[in-house]
């Protein structure tokens, strides 16, 4: 690197991470990613880190949510001299409408995921897929709750349950969602009824919210916010809870298992396939196909030592947490959203399967510098320059999977000599779910609740959601997790945050050494890590189920529990829907990056203060991870003293 490039690099880094004086080229909390970033810079390969710099400075009106581009009079933005857009909409309306539109996108993506799953269960029930019923007990239990004949033969029952899910998705917004009534704590239902936010069918709610957020329809900021709450509750119970449950029924409920994480798990000797995205259906089929002896023989004939299927983002977490059930043979998790270009840049990846969301357009540019083949495996995923589409079809997935594995083997021959795999890797325990925790505790939540009552564990915090470069990659999620466990708060990770703490070794029992005395003793007694891997971002639904179970066991509302949530690096629209759901669910919800609402004093004060009187939850915005952990701890301690423990 010449001196000009070096100086430029230092200048860029300095303008990137606020509050960090490091000038050594560090862009990520992970040594592996920093090493790969150095390699991409040397090679002149553009990644998210470089593009981030070129976008600076970013427009303050957009950051504050007061830019409206809906009609051709726009764009309008709110300034001191122009407190209203041309139509007369003020900052409050514009901010609320923009926020609702973000939440709608999230709700729609979750609905797509659930629909693919329900269709797969139907096809499986008809014997047309390579999948089976992974958790018959859960199938019968849930079928019973929704009013089906739980004694019916499993395949028939699974088909009926899938039909129930599809009809729940598609019914009118005036028909309340059965799953909300059946699964929400009664105290929550009462709070939501008061606000008239019990949602109907998800697709209808999406239609209503999109219609309302058109120009000149719903311009009342408070009603727009309530619409976002209603939509987010639909997302919570359908997109999250129902999706997780249906995935468990199809692919098996996560069971405790050991795996590995970080870029060092890549084996340069094998044909390497990466399952990237959120929907683990094609990925599971490919993982199974890759283990067939005839595929291994093909790989060996191509000069490779074998075939390995790795995970990336949430699809990876889904595989990891089921590697003791349907995803046996899983080779490890590479990283989260920001890592995608960097693992391609190792030069050792033959194929990336891109399922439902989070494949960034920049990935193609990086893939083109190497031999990596990108394939979209969901009918809604398309990327400029990517011509390989193997759109997931439940009835054809067995042959599609074999085709994908062969594609990867063929591509192994094109692998260049420029391969570099960082040596960083960490062990990781995965497979935590309400069921596996109950199993570990001997069938009852009591040992955990006793530890909370006694104060050995002060409370539980969900540190979940995306990764984000706004303050450097994964710095915040790892820092908040570390701070909380030090304070004897048990952390549950899900989504990209799971990949973050996994790579830093926080999901190993040995990480108990980094926890406070109380939490350390509990972790050692049970042999568990201080940060539990609950899986993918959809598995935030699993956290909802866990909190509901704990609230039920203690006989209180979720908002009274010593728990808190944090999305320290939230990035995209699904996270917006999740965050609003968490607030509606009664949780203190910390957000790292400041959400685009600060241009509206009304919306800001509702979200950060007034909503607490309505749902018990509220948003906490704090960019400093240590201060955020302190505030979450203070909230947990306040809830403890209110409960008299």
């Amino acid at each position: 690197m010449d001196s000009t490039t070096r100086i430029r690099k230092e200048e860029e880094i300095m303008s990137n991470c606020a509050g960090c004086d490091q000038k050594d080229g560090c862009v990520s909390v992970h040594a592996s990613i920093n090493e790969m970033h150095g390699r991409t810079r040397e090679m002149g390969v553009d990644t998210v880190f470089d593009r981030y710099q070129r976008q600076q400075p970013q427009c303050g009106f957009g950051m504050q949510g007061v830019c409206c581009q809906l009609c051709s009079h726009g764009p309008c933005r709110i300034t001191a001299k122009a407190p209203c857009g041309i139509c007369g909409a003020g900052a409050d309306t514009i901010v609320a409408r923009n926020l609702l539109r973000l939440a709608v996108h999230g709700a729609a993506a979750y609905a797509h995921h659930l629909e693919e799953l329900a269709k797969t269960i139907k096809a499986t029930a008809a014997g047309k897929t390579p999948f089976g019923i992974g958790d018959e007990q859960k199938l019968r239990q849930i079928a019973g709750v929704v009013g089906l004949d739980a004694a019916a033969p499993a395949p028939e029952l699974a088909g009926q349950l899938a039909d129930v899910l599809l009809s729940e998705l598609r019914k009118g917004s005036d028909e309340p969602l059965a799953l909300v009534r059946l699964f929400a704590p009664p105290t929550r239902l009462a709070a939501w009824e008061k606000l008239d936010v019990i949602p109907g069918g998800v697709l209808s709610e999406i239609r209503d919210a999109l219609t309302k957020s058109m120009s000149n329809i719903d311009t009342d900021p408070v009603d727009l916010l309530l619409t976002a709450v209603r939509l987010s509750i639909a997302t919570g119970y359908m997109g999250l809870v129902a999706t997780v449950t249906a995935q468990d029924i199809l692919l098996g409920t996560p069971a405790l298992t050991k795996s590995g994480a970080d870029l060092g798990v890549i084996d340069p000797a094998t044909v390497n396939i990466v399952a990237h995205g959120h929907v683990p259906l094609m990925a599971t089929a490919v993982l199974q196909a890759a283990q067939k002896p005839e595929m291994t023989a093909l790989a060996k004939a191509a000069g490779a030592a074998g075939i390995k299927v790795y995970g990336s983002m949430c699809t990876g977490q889904e595989l990891m947490q089921r590697s003791a059930t349907s995803a046996g043979g899983f080779a490890g998790q590479l990283g989260n959203w920001i890592a995608q270009e960097l693992y391609v840049a190792t030069g050792a990846v033959e194929l990336v399967m891109m399922d439902m969301n989070c494949s960034i357009p920049g990935l193609k540019t990086v893939a083109d510098r190497f031999h990596t083949r990108l394939v979209s495996v969901d009918r809604i995923v398309r990327m400029a320059g990517v011509d390989d589409h193997v759109d997931y079809d439940p009835e054809k997935v067995a042959e599609q999977a074999v085709g994908l594995v062969k594609m990867a083997i063929d591509n192994f021959r094109n692998r260049g000599k420029n391969v570099h795999v960082p040596q960083c890797k960490s062990a990781a325990v995965a497979g935590f779910s309400v069921e596996s925790i109950l199993g570990a505790l001997g069938g009852s939540l009591d040992p955990l609740l006793d530890a909370v009552r006694k104060g050995t564990i002060k409370g539980i915090a969900a540190v979940v959601g995306c990764t984000n470069n706004r303050n450097g990659h994964d710095f915040k999620s790892v820092a908040i997790t570390r701070e909380l466990i030090k304070k004897d708060v048990l952390v549950i990770n899900a989504g990209c945050c799971s990949s973050a703490t996994q790579a830093e070794g926080l999901m190993t029992p040995e990480a108990a050494d980094q926890a406070g005395e109380g939490l350390r003793s509990v972790c050692r007694a049970l042999g568990i890590p201080p940060a539990l891997n609950f899986g993918s971002c959809v598995d935030i639904g699993r956290i909802g189920v866990a909190v509901t179970a704990i609230a039920g066991a203690l006989g209180v509302d979720p908002s009274a529990l010593p728990v808190a949530a944090s999305a320290p690096e939230y990035l995209e629209q699904k996270a917006v829907a999740d965050g609003i759901f968490a607030v509606a669910f009664g949780l203190l919800t910390h957000l790292g990056p400041v959400p685009p609402v600060t241009g509206s004093p009304l919306i800001t004060s509702i979200l950060t203060r007034d909503v607490e009187g309505l749902t018990g939850g509220r948003v906490l915005v704090e960019e400093d991870p240590v201060k955020a952990a302190d505030a979450m701890y203070a909230h947990i301690m306040a809830k403890r003293s209110a409960l008299g423990i």
Binding site: S15, P57, C59, G60, F61, R77
Partner: protein, 161 residues
């Protein structure tokens, strides 16, 4: 004059500048014909800072110019390398000499580009366009007087509060 605290990095000034110097005279046209802006918003630690020509009393760029294209107008005080008998040849001496980084190379032509103070307008396009009042176009004394009055008012309030 620049009030850094008021800038929120929206880049409206840069767009308005490009528009004012584009043959089309509008933003969309300027984007289409790639007219470069002459005001820059630098990002420093997530803060936006406008940087443009100070039209210095003793301009280093004028001093450095080998053809004499860069001149300071004795009446208006504006520093520009356009509209004079001598032509800019793109030697970039002015770019090297400018202490503010306010002079840049044209992306396609071999000519240095800098703020010309929009002599065809009542006040520079960037100043008119800034939605945040971060830019102003006035004599240093007036700017200082305004700032002085603001400081005095703040001091009074502080004492009263």
């Amino acid at each position: 004059m620049i009030n850094v605290a008021a800038c929120n990095g929206c880049l409206t000034c840069a767009l308005a500048c490009a528009a004012a110097h584009s043959p089309s005279r509008d933003i969309v046209g300027a984007m289409a014909d790639h007219t470069p802006p002459r005001i820059f918003i630098q990002a420093v630690r997530e803060r936006a800072v406008p940087v443009t020509c100070r039209h210095c009393e003793e301009p280093a760029c004028v001093e450095a110019c080998m053809t004499g294209a860069m001149q300071k107008d004795p009446v208006s005080g504006l520093v520009s390398n356009e509209g004079h008998e001598q032509k800019c040849v793109g030697c970039w001496m002015c770019i090297m000499a400018c202490p503010y980084g306010a002079v840049t190379a044209h992306p396609t032509e071999r000519i240095a580009v800098k703020c010309d103070g929009c002599p065809h307008l009542d006040q520079p396009a960037c100043v008119s366009a800034c939605p945040n009042g971060a830019l102003s176009w006035e004599e240093p004394d007036r700017f200082a007087a305004r700032k002085g009055r603001r400081t005095a008012a703040a001091l009074l309030e502080e004492r009263a509060g």
